[in-house]
């Protein structure tokens, strides 16, 4: 049985993740010296947020701008929810602060996956004659994974990814290293 919830409801419930996602794009634009023309950090429409930027000066810069939210949201969400994951791993009872950290961590991690807009722009950059073969080897699978994630998001893949990163990975790390 599938539960269908409108996207804007998900965005409203997890709005910190949208803001972090767009801020990650903007931050990487700044680090790669790519001009930014406009940013929407959050809206109830579709998309929930966006960054309009100039064409990056190289394919690698474009790649970094596209995947920045994946790295930043995943790491930030994991760190925020780490105590909650450890609490679950040790079968303890979570407190009120754990619920807050769990919600924030899950919100941030759920929005780690780049959107199809990110994948589309990266696809065009990879197909440009100037892009190197190494970038294509790295980039095309990433584009494929992003599109796959977008398709599977209908089946709550983004939420499953968030739960796995926030709550399952800490338990797995403890079990592996203990």
């Amino acid at each position: 049985m599938f539960i269908i919830i409108p996207g804007f409801v998900i965005s409203l419930l997890t709005f910190p993740g949208v803001i972090v996602h767009e801020a990650a794009h903007q931050l990487m634009c700044r680090l790669t010296s790519t001009p930014v023309l406009g940013v929407c950090y959050f809206q109830t429409g579709n998309p929930a947020g966006y960054v309009i930027h100039d064409t990056p000066s190289s394919g690698w810069r474009h790649f970094l701008i596209s995947v920045a939210p994946f790295l930043i949201n995943t790491i930030a969400g994991f760190l925020i929810a780490l105590p909650v994951g450890l609490t679950i791993a040790s079968n303890s009872t979570p407190g009120p602060l754990d619920f807050l950290l769990g919600w924030l961590g899950l919100s941030v991690t759920m929005h780690a996956f780049p959107s199809t807009g990110d994948a589309s722009s990266l696809w065009h950059a990879l197909r440009a004659p100037s892009s190197s073969w190494l970038l294509r080897i790295v980039g095309f699978p990433v584009v494929g994974v992003i599109y796959l994630g977008a398709v599977l998001s209908v089946f709550w893949f983004d939420a499953i990814y968030g739960v796995a990163i926030c709550f399952a990975v800490p338990a797995a790390i403890v079990a592996a290293l203990a």
Partner: protein, 201 residues
């Protein structure tokens, strides 16, 4: 230049060919196809983060710091507990007992306490086992937990020459008061029966 998606190229359809669209300078930047001069391009590179975004970023950073502070203690406990479970599975009772002993104060759920009591019985720490079993009294438990508790109690009883309760911390001597059998006073009818009861005479 409508934002159709999350991460969009900005390609002006008809760039003004003569001057920077922002400041009117005649010197276009050579590092972009956009009709802007280099100072304006750098201004766009340093596109400002709004104050409220900076504030929220600060809150997120604060949360990361709080989480790391909380995690520091919980990581150690989680590792200890995980090692204790591994020792327990390998039936290395003394090691399991020592590891559980360090975490049972903060992880006092029924399963962990049962595992601790089991390790304590099998490693010969009967007093700790008896005390742990006593703290479990009155808890709601599932059937398998009750069966496990019964098994531990049975092992504890058979291992001890005295009842487990005798191992617990000494209770101050308690003197029972002398037993006085209750006496029933003989019934004496009242001298005058109230009028409302006269009907029943």
């Amino acid at each position: 230049m409508a934002p159709a998606s999350d991460d969009v190229f900005a390609e002006p359809k008809e760039p003004p060919p003569e001057a920077c669209v922002n400041c009117g300078s005649k010197d276009f930047s050579t590092r972009t196809k956009m009709p802007v001069c280099e100072p304006c391009r750098m201004g766009l590179v340093r596109y400002p983060f709004p104050g409220w975004v900076k504030l929220r970023a600060g809150v997120v950073c604060l949360m990361v710091v709080v989480s790391l502070a909380l995690s520091r203690e919980r990581v150690q406990e989680a590792f200890l507990l995980s090692r204790a479970k591994r020792m327990h599975q390998q039936q290395r009772w003394e090691d399991a007992y020592r590891l559980y002993h360090q975490v049972v104060v903060s992880h006092n759920d029924t399963d962990t306490l049962l595992a601790y009591a089991e390790a304590a019985v099998d490693s010969g720490h009967y007093e700790d086992a008896a005390r742990t079993m006593e703290t479990l009294g009155g808890r709601r438990a599932q059937r398998h937990q009750v069966a496990r508790a019964d098994a531990i109690s049975g092992r504890l009883r058979s291992a001890l020459p005295v009842p487990p309760s005798m191992l617990l911390s000494p209770v101050p001597p308690f003197a029972m008061p002398p037993h006085v059998p209750p006496t029933i006073a003989p019934f004496e009818a009242p001298a005058e029966i109230p009028s409302q009861f006269q009907f029943f005479r």
